[in-house]
């Protein structure tokens, strides 16, 4: 272990203490009904206005890992890493009309998870179970990646050894996170999101002003990148990389709002107008992300070297060399705290899926609401412990691979969750068949992607990235494509074919638990209802049962 930078450590620990106190205090705010807008926290339309929703969704979608990994990708692979910008541009017009339908139907029918919706819309517990499992499996590595972000910062601060002592700060950070999420629920990450965003924006603005001046200006930054990638198109994409770039951006955009934690953020908005306004306000984060991505090129110009083989340390190392220790400390705290917000929301979303759609549905149908809450809270702990274990005991690179797989598998819930908001034409049996087909194709394609170093030599045989060479399908081309798009196309094709077959055979199609008018319901409608608190909630039907018993 090299020497730990004391100034940085003190600043990070101080800021960490501040958010810890806020996290625990968040639970108390609830009891005082009138304290500012903070009693509005709690999923379910207690009135998250535009601002709170902006912070919540921003903290939820633009994670610390994004801030660390996107510039690392720019540093290692060049222009291809910039896909994060078109990805986060196309997403908002894409989901503009979709999220408001999801909001409306969820508030009329009391849905908290995407699996709740599928269960009711298609009358299919099986498809709901698949959606829940997909959601949990895709979310777990996402949480683990937040830890990778914190780990990169810790390494840069000097915690570079291996063994228990070096991992201890990470364990403490996550223990604290686990405790206050357990204690305060969704309010904790919500409050912390304000601090996180303030620190992140401060860091980016300072970085974009200070670093280019230090390394010789923007012209020099792009020139050094062009030199480094001169073999593969310089600062632009090689002709063969264009299809892969567009499909990766589009596929990632389709996937993002299918993640259970995004749904949690959407449902917390107070009305449809808030969501629509946010679809034009959230891209401010995308602009910031664009400049964060360019930190990767700044690191090339500055001659920054990653610690060991961990490419994720590029941004922390760049800050380390460009800023005085006190400001590097603030920037590191921004990344670390930025990891806690999405990690907390993700673990709550995964716990909700487990409790409502697996435990209640399959394990213990008679669970009362107290038991529901207890199970959900314990599940949120298990999810986080699992994430820490994943980081400590397996190679971080492995969780990055898992995250890549996560994006591809969550896309397989698109027909039932997203298209289901518009049409019930798909047969429930066909949805299951499409999910299976999409899964098989997606995983096979990911398995077949080798990882290559800049000279073209193969470093790793399988799960080496998101660019599937079309030549593997027997096509005479050097083009690559994102497996998520192909597997989704296969999924949709199977859904259409099997639906036609099942309809022709007149196989029973279940009952639609929703009505057409649900999808356009507004807050003031008599059918509108508050959604229950996450982690203290029971799935649809259970509340009524409890009332009847009482």
């Amino acid at each position: 272990m090299k020497d730990v930078n004391v100034v940085e450590l003190v600043i990070v620990v101080l800021l960490f203490l501040v958010v810890t106190v806020m996290g625990f205090a968040a639970a108390r705010w609830r009891r005082a009904e009138s304290l500012m807008h903070l009693d509005e926290w709690g999923l379910g339309g207690r009135s998250f206005g535009s601002w709170i929703t902006w912070f919540l969704l921003g903290g939820d979608l633009y994670t610390a890992y994004t801030f660390v990994a996107v510039p690392a990708l720019m540093f290692g692979a060049g222009a291809a890493g910039f896909f994060a910008v078109p990805y986060t541009v196309v997403i908002y017009p894409l989901v503009f009309l979709v999220v408001i339908r999801l909001w409306s139907v969820s508030h009329v029918r009391g849905f908290v998870t995407p699996a709740d919706f599928v269960r009711s819309r298609f009358g299919s517990p099986t498809m709901a179970l698949l959606v829940a499992i997909t959601g949990i499996v895709a979310t777990m590595p996402y949480i683990a990646l937040q830890l990778v972000g914190i780990e990169a910062v810790l390494k840069s601060m000097g915690f570079t050894g291996s063994g228990f002592a070096a991992e201890l700060p990470l364990i403490i950070a996550f223990l604290v996170l686990a405790l206050y999420t357990y204690n305060s629920g969704l309010r904790a990450p919500a409050m912390i999101a304000f601090v996180k965003d303030t620190l992140i924006y401060l860091t980016i603005i300072v970085a974009v002003i200070v670093i280019p001046g230090k390394v010789g200006g923007w012209g020099h930054i792009f020139d050094s990148a062009a030199d480094k990638f001169s073999a593969t198109g310089g600062v632009i994409l090689p002709a063969t990389g264009q299809l892969g770039y567009a499909t990766l951006a589009f596929g990632s955009a389709l996937a993002l709002f299918l993640y259970p934690h995004s749904v949690t953020g959407v449902l917390a908005a107070s009305n449809r107008d808030v969501l629509k306004r946010n679809m034009s306000a959230l891209p401010v984060y995308s602009l910031a992300l664009g400049f964060i991505a360019l930190l990767g090129f700044m690191a090339i110009a500055a001659g920054t070297k990653p610690i060991g083989t961990d490419g994720n340390t590029i941004v922390p190392e760049l800050f380390q060399s460009s800023f005085p220790s006190w400001f590097a400390g603030i920037a590191f705290a921004a990344i670390a705290i930025g990891a806690l917000v999405p990690a907390a929301i993700m673990s709550i979303a995964a716990a909700n899926l487990f409790t409502r759609n697996i435990w209640k549905e399959y394990v213990h149908k008679d669970a009362d609401s107290r038991e529901e809450a207890r199970v959900a809270k314990i599940a949120s702990l298990v999810v986080k412990v699992g994430a820490v274990a994943a980081i400590l005991f397996i190679d971080p690179q492995f969780s990055i691979d898992l995250q890549l797989i996560g994006g591809v598998i969550i896309l397989q819930t698109l027909p039932s969750v997203a298209l289901g908001l518009y049409t019930r034409w798909m047969h429930r049996g066909a949805l299951v068949a499409g999910w299976v087909a999409g899964m098989v194709v997606g995983l096979w394609m990911l398995y077949e992607i080798p990882k290559k170093d800049p000279t073209g030599a193969i470093i790793k045989e399988h799960f080496g990235g998101s660019s599937f060479p079309l030549s593997k399908l027997g096509l005479d081309t050097k083009l690559t494509i994102y497996p998520g798009i192909v597997s989704l196309a296969v999924n949709l094709l199977v859904v259409v074919i099997i639906t036609l077959i099942l309809r022709a055979m007149k196989v029973a199609d279940g009952v639609d638990g929703t009505a057409d008018t649900d999808y356009t319901a507004e807050r003031e409608d008599p059918s509108f209802r508050e959604l229950p608190e996450p982690l203290e909630s029971a799935p649809p039907g259970v509340a009524e049962e409890a009332v009847r018993r009482g």
Partner: protein, 98 residues
Amino acid sequence: MATASTPPSTPGPQDAAPRRSDRSPWNWLLLIPIVVPLIVPLYNAVDPKWGSFPLFYWLQLAFVALGVATTALVYRMTRRPAAEREAAARAATRDREG
């Protein structure tokens, strides 16, 4: 047992949501910021530069503004009539106080 697997409460005719529609010709505008940023040949070039920024970077950053402008315009044009919005605001305030 049966209650757990049925939807919460079936809204009766008295508390059904009014029939509305999200349809509007303005929605078609949303296709522009979805399609344009995905046409890679449009911006996969170094020149023309904007300052020191190659086309690839400044144009994609400019697409952020395209997305904001389009979604803001569609939001404006598909907003509910003022009277309805006031009723909605009153309902929200009532919820909060009640």
